[in-house]
Symmetry: C2
Subunit: 456 residues, 2 copies
């Protein structure tokens, strides 16, 4: 892999410039105003894969945003790696909290600041550049397929159908994904567990129009007050979720697993200081690391209703809304959780309001075995470039695709991510360290090499 | 008053056209973008008063929106009526729920649809036109002063200072205000009680930035969930407000007063049908009419935080906000209630969030004696034009100015309003019946005549 590494070294600036070009395309998948940008981003990815030497490069249309596919089969007898990533990004709101324009990448303190810098344009692009380097130097040691989608941030709506319809084409020995983070730059880790997700929007309707709060106040149910009461009832005073049946299928960690987690380096004071909070909080009886990775959650992601402008307006709103998501752990199932939530939430509504629940998206929790050849290949690759053996770690995020690959294609995934929790993904001032971007590009070829050797 | 009535009859169309011109000025006092419109509305009122024959017409600047003053002193020995009204209006949001543009008055089903059609441009303008009619016919029977402000919808911030500094100029025997409603067009009523108000905005801050709800969910206090829990705790399961001390000064109605209120015509089924709600709700042990008029309330008027756009965004917001108002009844005091609220609300915050409370405006509750000459003059005037004696009624709304006049000038008010609860003031499709507009203009001169005679 020496030539590959030299090639990477020689092309550092260009690899960064190209990533910047990709970032400049505001491919916000949730917003229909950006549909053309999604198409442009897909074309950009396509062009890069073609230029790197991939075959059968194509933009596959879906009902919404297209999927870019490409492959390089050097020998059918060699193992095949399927690289998954996504070119879509989260919205940039609240835009006023960014220090620089979100879609104009800015270098500061050795980091790239921009929406998508890490999630997932930066991490996905590492794979394209690593592939380019191996191709340019003739050092690609196994077959590779790319599937880069544009709907990850909106629940990968059309991916299941695509995978089912293309299961032969997508056949692979392992899926390789960089869309997670490490503990720290000097504490490399590999994600071996992901939470699932169930995301809903609720609408509470009271009177059929906004009312004057003087004339009607006290006499009718105020939908905002009602929504607040209903949300408050979703957790008890031990921060346990009160939805009947919610925890029924949750697999409790063994004492050994908890002991192993407790050994993961974690500085609570630094964590609080980083977030600017006086204290952490969460489900009673669990550590912070457990709460954010192996325990299920319920969070309101957005709420709105009534007058939200400048000054005072004395109304009782007709409607109040909230976006609510639950993170799920093995063996919770998103559809069942949505059903349990919907039944319970509706039952909390006082007489005098109506409740409507829209189901946005769901994804299943997953745990990845650490005895796979591919996991060992990743472990060894990171040891080679970081000089330290990475720690297996369960993450709180959700990548529904992982469970999908397992169930539809029967293929496991390796989650070799190079981001950090401090990258502020989904937040203003998202960033990705130059160290991390280049370390990713350098590590990936070793993974291929190790995987080819361990698969023999 | 016969000539006055003939004059009104002869000028019906012009009186409506002029009101339309006033309504077309979008004088939304809470929004600084409309400051020029407030000035234009003040000038419009000034011009109308001048044209009607008032003296000393002037636009008095304040720290924000000006006050229009005018007077006609025909004989210092005659009683003086001080007419109070306001030319500012509530915002038109949510604008998409209007059937026609809010600042382009539309006639439909015998009603004027527009923001301010009733509150208070329509009702205030009745006084200017009645004055014009009495002046034109030489039938003005007492002295009159006008004080028309532009900050009523934002808490009359600068009015107290103006009244204190102009107490000599404003000297009067009664304040006459049309900014309230009647029970129905065939059940005239006069408002003899108003609730006070205490309005705050609360801000709950958790982490210093928006966080990814996968990486952090379950480990930190979510400010939106926290805000909902805090709001939910402000009322108990009997819909009693839980703020310690909140009810301490509330004067309970006597059995006689409750019996009198129970006789006021009120059709609960029609009320529910009008609002499109399955059931009413409110403080246990009180009727709907009591709940909306003689009992204090707490309503969230607006709430917002996190992602509120299209689709799903998986964040934990840094901040969540709510606008909360309390309606007060005798003898609650707005400043004390704000203090009690602030202490209690802050105490409800879980560790891990910070709370900031902004005090918007307050007004004191008031009860008006029905044995005043001016009350009897109004009662008789409405009997003369409606053919029915009006019912004294306590209203749920707030007109802080009433208590201010009493305390600073020592003058009582008569609240002779001609609106209806169904006028949708502060809401989309605000409207004012042509019947009500003209009935107001016709009734006001009788009030002057009766008041002059009863004051002899």
């Amino acid at each position: 892999m020496q030539q590959t590494q030299s090639y990477i070294e020689a092309n550092r600036q260009r690899f960064l410039d190209e990533l910047f070009d990709l970032i400049r395309i505001p491919s916000v998948s949730t917003n229909p105003d950006h549909d053309k940008d999604l198409q442009r981003a897909a074309e950009f990815v396509q062009d890069c894969l073609k230029a790197a030497g991939a075959d059968k490069v194509e933009i596959c249309p879906t009902n919404r945003h297209p999927i870019v596919y490409a492959e390089k089969i050097i020998d059918p007898k060699l193992p095949t790696v399927l690289v998954y990533g996504h070119y879509d990004v989260q919205p940039a709101d609240p835009i006023e909290l960014w220090d620089a324009p979100p879609f104009e990448p800015t270098l500061k303190d050795g980091k790239i600041f921009a929406r998508g810098a890490c999630d997932d344009k930066g991490q996905m692009f590492m794979h394209i550049k690593a592939f380019e380097a191996m191709m340019a130097t003739g050092e690609l040691p196994c077959n590779v397929k790319f599937m880069i989608e544009g709907e990850e941030e909106i629940g990968s709506e059309n991916l299941p159908q695509f995978i089912r319809e293309n299961s032969e084409k997508l056949k692979a020995d392992i899926v390789l994904i960089s869309d997670t983070s490490m503990i720290a730059n000097d504490i490399p880790s590999i994600t071996v567990g992901l939470r699932g997700i169930a995301y809903v929007q609720v609408e509470v309707t009271g009177p059929d129009r906004d009312l004057h709060s003087g004339s009607y106040g006290g006499g009718v149910v105020n939908p905002i007050n009602a929504l607040c009461q209903m949300i408050a009832k979703l957790k008890d005073d031990k921060n346990r979720i009160t939805i009947p049946g919610f925890y029924d299928k949750v697999v409790e960690l063994s004492a050994e697993e908890r002991a192993a987690m407790a050994k993961v380096p974690f500085d609570l004071e630094a964590y609080k200081a980083d977030l600017g909070i006086e204290d952490v909080a969460g489900e009673e009886g669990y550590t912070t690391l457990e709460r954010v990775s192996v325990r299920p959650t319920l969070d309101v992601n957005g709420i709105w209703g009534g007058y939200t402008g400048e000054g005072a307006k004395t109304i009782i709103a007709s409607k109040a809304y909230a976006k609510i998501s639950m993170r799920l752990v093995p063996n919770q199932e998103s559809e069942e959780i949505i059903r349990l939530f919907s039944n319970y939430f509706t039952s909390l509504a006082p007489k005098g309001v109506k409740v409507k629940i829209d189901y946005y998206h769901g994804g299943e929790p997953v745990v990845i075995p650490t005895d796979l050849a591919a996991y060992k290949a990743a472990e060894l690759a990171m040891s080679q470039t970081f000089g330290k053996k990475p720690i297996p770690q369960r993450s709180g995020g959700s990548i529904p695709i992982v469970q999908l690959f397992k169930s539809v294609l029967g293929v496991n995934s390796v989650l070799m991510g190079f981001g950090l929790d401090s990258d502020a993904i989904h937040s203003p001032n998202e960033n990705f360290g130059l160290f991390n971007y280049y370390k990713g590009i350098e590590t990936i070829p070793y993974f291929y090499k190790n995987f080819a050797e361990l698969s023999k």
